[in-house]
Symmetry: C2
Subunit: 314 residues, 2 copies
C-alpha cells in the first residue's frame, strides 16, 4: 500500500484506528477470515463492517440496469471512500444498509470505529482513495472452481437459491468480477489462496492448504527459523515472482501439516505478537464449525500486523 492517507488525530476524542481491508469476490471466505479476528481481539476492540451496502439502486431498480451490483457505477463509490476515510480518522459514520433478503435499501446504522476496524467486501480496494484508508490490505484469491463450489453451497443452503440460480448469477457477474474485483489483488499486502495441494491424495477431510503471498509493501515477521525453505516440508517459504512479475515471498501452509509443526509456527507468530497466554482458540474456525490450521496461521499473521501497526502508531 504505497499511498497512505495523511491522518488527522480526531479532535478531542479517541485515536485513529488500525484499518484492515479484506477484499475478495463473493463467497471467497471474507467473513470466515474476519470472524476469527473479531473473536480473538474481542468485539470491544474491533469493529467489523461489510462495504457491500453502498448500492445506488434497490433490486427492482437494478433489474433495468445493464450491469450487476458489482459494477462501481451501481454503487456510491464516492460515499464509500468518504466513509472509509472518516473511519480511518476515528470518526463515526452513518452507513447505508442493503437488505439482502428483500433487496431494499433500509435504515442506515451508526458505525463507531474501535481500536481496530476490519472492512470486508467486494470493492474495498477499488479506488486510490479507498486504498489510502488502510494500513493492511488482504485479497482472498481462491481458485475459481473452489469459490464457485463455496458460493453454490452457501447460497443454496442459507440464502434460499437453487443451484441453477446461483450458477446463472455467477455467469452474469463474471465479466464484472474480471473487470473490477480481481484487479484488486494488485493492491493487497497479503494475497491469500486456500486450495487443495495438487498432486497429493489427502483424505477428503484434510483442510485446504493456504498460500500466502507476503508482499514487501509491509514488514512481515521473520519466520525463517520455523518455516523452512524446502518444498518438501509441510510448511515453507519461497521467494518467487508474483503473477505480475514482482518479487514476493510465498508462504505455503499445507492442509496436512502436523499439529506439532503448525503449533510451532503459531507459537512463533504469537510470540512476535508479544501477547501473553495461549494462542486464541477461536482462530482457524471454519463456517461449518470445523477447524483449519492454515486458516489459523493466516489469522495469526493478520493479528501480528494489526498489533504491530497499533504499536507503531501510538
Amino acid at each position: 500500500m504505497p499511498h497512505r492517507l495523511i491522518r488527522m488525530q480526531r479532535a478531542g476524542k479517541g485515536r485513529r484506528p488500525v484499518m484492515l481491508a479484506i477484499a475478495g469476490d463473493s463467497a471467497s471466505g471474507k467473513t470466515t477470515l474476519t470472524q476469527g479476528l473479531v473473536q480473538a481481539l474481542g468485539p470491544d476492540r474491533m469493529t467489523a463492517i461489510c462495504v457491500d451496502d453502498y448500492h445506488r439502486h434497490n433490486r427492482r431498480e437494478r433489474s433495468g440496469q445493464p450491469f450487476t451490483a458489482l459494477h462501481p457505477e451501481a454503487n456510491y463509490i464516492e460515499i464509500m471512500e468518504q466513509h472509509l476515510q472518516l473511519l480511518a480518522m476515528g470518526q463515526p459514520v452513518l452507513k447505508p444498509v442493503y437488505d439482502h433478503d428483500t433487496g431494499e435499501l433500509i435504515r442506515p446504522v451508526l458505525v463507531e470505529p474501535r481500536e481496530f476496524v476490519v472492512v470486508e467486501g467486494l470493492l474495498p480496494l477499488h479506488s486510490k482513495l479507498t486504498r489510502a484508508s488502510f494500513d493492511i490490505a488482504v485479497y482472498l484469491d481462491p481458485p475459481e472452481e473452489i469459490r464457485r463450489s463455496w458460493k453454490i453451497k452457501r447460497d443454496t443452503t442459507t440464502r434460499g437459491y437453487t443451484r441453477e440460480q446461483v450458477e446463472a448469477e455467477l455467469g452474469r457477474r463474471e465479466s464484472e468480477s474480471e473487470a473490477f474485483i480481481r484487479p484488486q489483488r494488485r493492491w493487497a499486502d497479503i494475497v491469500v489462496r486456500f486450495a487443495p495441494v495438487t498432486k497429493r491424495h489427502d483424505p477428503p477431510e484434510t483442510p485446504l492448504s493456504a498460500e500466502l503471498m507476503l508482499r514487501p509493501t509491509i514488514e512481515h515477521p521473520d519466520l525463517s527459523a520455523v518455516v523452512g525453505e524446502s518444498d518438501h516440508r509441510a510448511m515453507h517459504l519461497k521467494l518467487l515472482r508474483d503473477t505480475d512479475g514482482r518479487p514476493v515471498d510465498a508462504m505455503h501452509v499445507h492442509g496436512y501439516v502436523s499439529e506439532e509443526e503448525s503449533g510451532l509456527v503459531k507459537k512463533a507468530i504469537w510470540d512476535r505478537v508479544a501477547a501473553d497466554g495461549p494462542v486464541p482458540p477461536e482462530l482457524g474456525t471454519l463456517s461449518d464449525g470445523k477447524r483449519s490450521d492454515p486458516l489459523a496461521i493466516t489469522q495469526l499473521l493478520l493479528l501480528f500486523h494489526l498489533l504491530e501497526e497499533a504499536r507503531a502508531q501510538h
Copy 2:
C-alpha cells in the same frame, strides 16, 4: 457567526458552496422562506436540505423515550455536524431520511452540494461545529401564538392530525423548544420575526410585518437611503439593543407598506445584488399562494448575502 470552518478546496472537483442556515421551531416558516430562494436562484444553483432526519429512533422506539424528537440526545448530532462540514467542503453526503408519514427511518438520499446550500431545520445552529459550517445564519422567531396557529393550520390540513393532537404535541415539546430550539436565536446573523403590527387595525388580508434584526456579525447592505430611521414610515431602520443587550439594527417592514415603497427597497437591494433584469417574481410567495412584500424583502436580503459571499470567496 464568529467561528467559521477552515475550508479545504475539494481536490480536483467543484468549489465549496455558500452555506445558509435557516433555523427555527416547527411551523415557523422555514420552508416558505427557503422555497423562494431556491426558485429565485434556480434548483441547478441551490441545494436545499432539511436536517430534521438525523433521528436515532423511529417513532415506535421513541415512544419509550423520556424526550421528544427535538432533544439532541434523540438525534445523531455528531453525524449532522459531519454532514454539514462535508457539504461545506463541497463533498456529497448520504443523508438519512425520516418518513414523517410512517415514522420510519428509510433509505438515505445522496445530497450533492451546488453553488449554494440552504440548510433548514430545528437544530442546524445547535452546536459549535454545525455553526462553523455556515456563512450566513438565520433564525425564524415568530411570536409563539402565531407559530401555534401556523402549526395547527398546517398539521390539521396537510398532515392529518386533529387540533387536539397538535396542541398536545406542542405541550409535550415546549420544554425542549425552550431548552434547545430558541437558544439558537443567539447564533443567528439575521433574526426574522413575522408578526402583525400592534396598535393598528389593518384589514385581515394585510400581510404580516417583518422585523429583521441585522446583527453586525456579517456586513449588511447600506439601506439608509431608501429606508428611513423614523418610526412613522412604513419601513424603517432602528438602532436598538437586542433581548440579550447586544446592539443591533432592526429593520421593520410593515405589512401595510405601499407597493411603491416596497418596490423601492426591493429595487435598492436588487441593485446591490448587481443582478440584471427585474426582481425575481417568485419572491414573497406564501404557502397558500398569496404574496407578502415583507417576505420578499427578507428573501432579497438573503439573496444579497448569498451572492455577496459567493463573490467574496471566489
